[in-house]
C-alpha cells in the first residue's frame, strides 16, 4: 500500500491542492493584501488597481479605534471562556455516564449527536422561541411553573444573552464532543482503574490521577474544536439576538462592517478579519502546544 501511495503521491494529491490553492490560499492572500488598501467592494479609493490604493496600517488602526469592534472582541472572549468550560464539563460528565451505561450507549450517543446536525440559523430561531415563549411565558414567568426572573427574557440583556448563547451552543456541541470523549475513555485500560481501586484510591482520586492524564489526547482535540468554534460563532449569534443589547460577536462584526459604513468599507472589514485570524491562530496554537505536552504515552 505504502508503495502505491508513494509512487502516485503527486497525481493523488493534486486535485485537493488545486482546490485548496484556488478556494482558500489565493483568496486568503488577496484578503490580506486588500486589508492594506481602500477597498470598497467594487473599486479602490485612489486608483484603478490595488497598488495605487495602499493605506498602510490605517485599516488596522481604525479597527482598534472602532468601539463596536472592541466591544465585539471583549464579548467574544467572555463567551468563549464560559462556553469552553461549560461544554467540556457537560460533555465529559455525559460521556462518563454513557460509558458506564454499557447498554444502549450507542443509542444515547446518537440522540445527543442529533442537535449537531441542525444548521446554526435554524438552531438560533428554535432557541429564540424557547427563550422567548417557553422560558419567558410558560416556565419561569411570574405566572409560570416556577418564577425565576434570571431565566426570563434572556435575549434582552447583555449578560443573560451570553448564557443564552452558551446554553444553545452547549446543546449543539455536546453530542460531537461526547463521541471524542467516549472513544478516549474506552481506550483507558480497565486494568489501571482496577489496580488503583485495589490500592485504595477513591473515585475522585482515580478520576484525577488516571482518567484525566490518560484522556489528554482527547482534551487536546476537544479544546481545539471548542475554542475555535466558539470564537467563530456567527449563525447562532445572528439568529438569536442579532447583536442587540451589545451581543455582537467578532464574526458578526466583520460581516456587518460593510453595512455600518457607506461607501462599504471592505478594507476595514478585511483588516478585522485578519486580526480575527491572528487571534484564533495564536490562541489555538498555544492551547494545542500546552495540552499536547501533557499527553502521556503508555
Amino acid at each position: 500500500m505504502d508503495r502505491y501511495y508513494k509512487k502516485r503521491l503527486v497525481p493523488l494529491a493534486l486535485p485537493a491542492i488545486i482546490l485548496f490553492v484556488l478556494v482558500i490560499a489565493i483568496p486568503f492572500i488577496m484578503g490580506v493584501i486588500y486589508s492594506f488598501t481602500g477597498w470598497r467592494g467594487t473599486y479602490f479609493v485612489g486608483g484603478e488597481n490595488f497598488w495605487e490604493s495602499f493605506v498602510g496600517f490605517d485599516n488596522y488602526i481604525k479597527a482598534f479605534k472602532t468601539k463596536k469592534f472592541i466591544d465585539a472582541f471583549i464579548y467574544t472572549i467572555k463567551f468563549t471562556l464560559v462556553a469552553v468550560i461549560v461544554i467540556n464539563v457537560v460533555s465529559l460528565a455525559v460521556s462518563m455516564l454513557v460509558t458506564y451505561l454499557h447498554k444502549a450507549a450507542s443509542v444515547y450517543r446518537t440522540i445527543y449527536f442529533l442537535p449537531n446536525l441542525l444548521g446554526g440559523l435554524a438552531l438560533g430561531y428554535i432557541w429564540q422561541f424557547i427563550f422567548e415563549i417557553v422560558f419567558s411565558k410558560i416556565l419561569f414567568s411570574e405566572e409560570g411553573v416556577v418564577s425565576i426572573p434570571a431565566l426570563c427574557n434572556m435575549t434582552q440583556d447583555n449578560t443573560k444573552a451570553l448564557f443564552a448563547l452558551v446554553m444553545l451552543f452547549t446543546w449543539q456541541m455536546v453530542g460531537y464532543m461526547i463521541i471524542i470523549y467516549t472513544t478516549g475513555l474506552n481506550n483507558i485500560s480497565s486494568d489501571l482503574t482496577e489496580a488503583a481501586a485495589i490500592d485504595g484510591a477513591n473515585a475522585w482520586q482515580r478520576f484525577k490521577s488516571i482518567t484525566v492524564p490518560m484522556l489528554m489526547p482527547s482534551f487536546t482535540i476537544v479544546f481545539f474544536l471548542t475554542l475555535s468554534k466558539c470564537f467563530m460563532l456567527l449563525d447562532q449569534n445572528v439568529a438569536l439576538t442579532d447583536g442587540n443589547f451589545g451581543t455582537r460577536m467578532l464574526a458578526m462584526q466583520i460581516l456587518r462592517t460593510t453595512r455600518d459604513s457607506s461607501p462599504p468599507d471592505y478594507g476595514l472589514a478585511q483588516a478585522q478579519a485578519v486580526i480575527f485570524f491572528v487571534l484564533i491562530a495564536v490562541v489555538t496554537l498555544i492551547q494545542v502546544s500546552v495540552t499536547s505536552k501533557k499527553e502521556v504515552e503508555v
Binding site: V23, I24, A25, I26, P27, F28, M30, G31, Y34, W39, R40, G41, T42, Y43, V45, E48, N49, F50, Q128, F129, E132, I133, S136, C152, N153, T155, Q156, T220, F224, S228, M232, L234, N244, F245, A251, I254, L255, T258, R259, D260, S261, S262, P263, P264, Y266, A269, Q270, Q272, A273, V274, F276, F277, I280, A281, T284, L285, V288, S289, S292
Partner: protein
C-alpha cells in the same frame, strides 16, 4: 515531534478556512481593468442588462423587459433577487464581473456615494437621448437622487406611510354613517384631540366605558357594545416592537421632517440645526410614549419579544381586528391581505400626529397644521445607469427608461403589473387599483405630503443606532422616568452628531 507538526497544519488549515469563509466576500472579484473587460465583452448574450432590486415585481419587470425587447428587436436580460433579500452584495459581485448591469438600483443619497465614487453612476445630464433628457428634466426636484452636484436617478415609484386603519372598524366603533366624517375630522384634528381620543378608545377597549371622542371640534359617540369587527379589540395600536425600524426609521422621520425640508438638507445638518430641533425630537418621544402605552401588548420586555411582536405578528394583530391603528406603508398591503383578505379593500391612511409647536418646526414653510394633516410620500428606489457599460448599451438603457415611464404600454406595466404608483402620476387621472395606493394618491392630490428627510441621516443611524437605543432602553421598560422625553431628544441629537462627525 511529528504529531506537533500535524497539529500545526491542522490549526493552520482550519484557521485559514475561517478567514476566507468570513471575510473573503470581496475576494471573488475580477481585477482585470475595465477597458479589457469591454473588449472581451463579446461573450455576453444580451443587449441590455437590468439589475432589479425589488423581488416583489420580478415577474412584472421580466414581462416589461420582454415587451420592450420585442418592440425594439433587442434581447433584454433581467436579474431579480427574491423579495426581502439584501441585494447589495449581489449587485457588487455583478459590478465586478465583465458583464455589468446597465441599469441598476440605488435607494438614496447615502447609498449613492459608493456608486458615484466608484464611477458607476452616470450623471443623467450627460445622456445623449433627447427624450430621456426631457424625462429627467421633468423629475420634481424633491425626487432627485443627488450628491449635491448632479442627478443620478430615475425614480421607481412613490410610496407612503401613516397609521393604517380599516374603515369598517371605524364603522363598528362610531356607526356606519359617521365613517367619512370621522376620517376627515381625524385628519384635521390637533394632537391633544388625538391624544384624548386614544385614551378614550383604550379605556373603551379595556374597561368597556363607551365615551365620546372629539376630533376637530366634532363629537363622535362610541357604540355601547363592542360588536362586529370591534369585538376582538385588544388595544389601540399594533406595534412591531421587536423591530428596530419601528422607532428608528419612519416614525422618527416625522420629527426629522419638521427640522429638515428634505434628505439633502438633513445630510448637510449642522450641530446647531440638530440642537434647534430638540423640541421636535421631544414631540417624537411624547408620541412614541402615547403609542407604546396604548398598544395591544403592554410596554415592557414583552413588547420587544421577537416571537410575539415582530413584523409578521404585528400585521396579524392588526389584520385580525385586535388593534385600530398600525403604523405601516403601502408596501405592507400584500402582507395585510395575506393575513386577512376581508379588510384589504377598506383600508386607508391617517396621518401620524406629533405634538409640534410652530417653534419646533425648523423646516422652512412648514406649519403645524400641515404636519398634522400630511403623510410622507417618497421615492423608495431609483434606476441608475451604469457609466461603465458600452455606449450602445447606455443608449438602450435610456430608451428603456423612456419607454417604461412615458409610453402607455410601459405605464400599464408599472401601474397594473408592478402595482406601483408612478412618481410622475397625475393624481386626477391615476388609480392605483388598491385601497392603500389610492389613499396615497388622494394625499398627493390634496398636496398633503411630507418628505423622507431621515434618509439623509448618517448611515446606520436610524435603525441600528437610534432604533436600537430606543428598543434597549425605553420600549422595554413599562415606566419611563420623568426625564425620558428629554433623554430621548438629547440622545437623538448627540448620536446623530457623533455619527455625522459634527463638533
Amino acid at each position: 515531534m511529528k504529531k506537533k507538526a500535524l497539529y500545526m497544519i491542522l490549526v493552520g488549515v482550519l484557521a485559514l478556512g475561517m478567514l476566507t469563509g468570513c471575510g473573503g466576500s470581496g475576494s471573488n472579484s475580477d481585477s482585470s481593468p475595465d477597458s479589457k473587460a469591454e473588449e472581451a465583452g463579446s461573450d455576453k448574450d444580451y443587449d441590455l442588462y437590468i439589475f432589479n432590486t425589488k423581488g416583489e415585481n420580478a415577474d412584472a419587470m421580466e414581462a416589461a423587459a420582454n415587451a420592450f425587447g420585442a418592440e425594439k428587436g433587442v434581447k433584454v436580460k433581467v436579474f431579480s433577487l427574491g423579495s426581502g433579500t439584501n441585494s447589495d452584495d449581489t449587485l457588487r459581485t455583478e459590478m465586478n464581473s465583465n458583464n455589468k448591469p446597465a441599469i441598476f438600483s440605488c435607494m438614496n443619497a447615502q447609498a449613492l456615494v459608493e456608486w458615484v465614487e466608484g464611477g458607476f453612476a452616470m450623471d443623467l445630464s450627460t445622456a445623449g437621448n433627447e427624450e430621456f433628457k426631457e424625462l429627467v428634466s421633468e423629475i420634481p426636484e424633491s425626487f432627485h437622487l443627488t450628491d449635491g452636484n448632479a442627478n443620478y436617478g430615475v425614480p421607481y415609484n412613490v410610496e407612503g406611510y401613516g397609521y393604517i386603519v380599516d374603515t369598517e372598524m371605524i364603522a363598528a366603533l362610531f356607526g356606519e354613517d359617521n365613517v367619512d366624517a370621522f376620517i376627515d375630522a381625524f385628519k384635521m384634528a390637533t394632537y391633544d384631540e388625538f391624544e384624548s381620543a386614544v385614551t378614550t378608545l383604550q379605556a373603551y377597549i379595556k374597561e368597556d366605558t363607551a365615551g365620546t371622542v372629539t376630533l376637530s371640534g366634532q363629537e363622535f359617540q362610541l357604540a355601547a357594545q363592542k360588536t362586529g369587527k370591534a369585538a376582538n379589540l385588544e388595544g389601540v395600536f399594533s406595534v412591531a416592537g421587536s423591530e428596530k425600524w419601528t422607532y428608528g426609521d419612519h416614525f422618527v422621520n416625522i420629527a426629522v421632517d419638521a427640522i429638515f425640508k428634505d434628505s439633502k438638507a438633513a445630510s448637510e445638518a449642522t450641530k446647531e440645526e440638530l440642537e434647534a430641533g430638540k423640541g421636535a425630537f421631544m414631540a417624537y418621544a411624547k408620541a412614541l410614549d402615547l403609542k407604546t402605552s396604548n398598544a395591544t401588548t403592554a410596554r415592557g420586555p414583552e413588547l420587544i419579544n421577537a416571537t410575539t411582536n415582530g413584523y409578521d405578528p404585528a400585521v396579524a394583530t392588526f389584520a385580525g381586528g385586535k388593534a385600530i391603528f398600525m403604523k405601516q406603508g403601502n408596501w405592507a398591503y400584500e402582507n395585510i391581505k395575506k393575513a386577512n383578505e376581508d379588510i384589504a379593500d377598506t383600508l386607508t391612511f391617517l396621518p401620524i400626529k406629533m405634538p409640534f409647536t410652530q417653534e419646533d418646526i425648523q423646516a422652512e414653510g412648514l406649519t403645524v397644521d400641515h404636519m398634522l394633516e400630511s403623510i410622507p410620500v417618497f421615492v423608495p428606489n431609483y434606476y441608475c445607469i451604469n457609466d461603465k457599460v458600452s455606449d450602445e448599451e447606455k443608449a438602450l438603457a435610456q430608451e428603456f427608461l423612456v419607454w417604461l415611464n412615458t409610453t402607455e404600454e410601459g405605464q400599464r406595466f408599472v401601474i397594473e403589473e408592478m402595482a406601483f404608483i408612478p412618481y410622475n402620476a397625475d393624481p386626477a387621472t391615476t388609480s392605483a387599483g388598491y385601497s392603500l395606493g389610492d389613499s396615497i394618491i388622494s394625499y398627493i392630490a390634496e398636496e398633503k405630503t411630507l418628505t423622507n428627510a431621515y434618509a439623509g441621516a448618517p448611515v446606520g443611524w436610524a435603525t441600528d443606532t437610534f432604533g436600537l437605543h430606543m428598543m434597549e432602553n425605553f420600549v422595554n421598560t413599562a415606566e419611563w422616568p420623568d426625564t425620558a422625553y428629554e433623554d430621548i431628544a438629547d440622545f437623538t441629537i448627540s448620536s446623530w452628531a457623533e455619527m455625522a462627525g459634527l463638533e
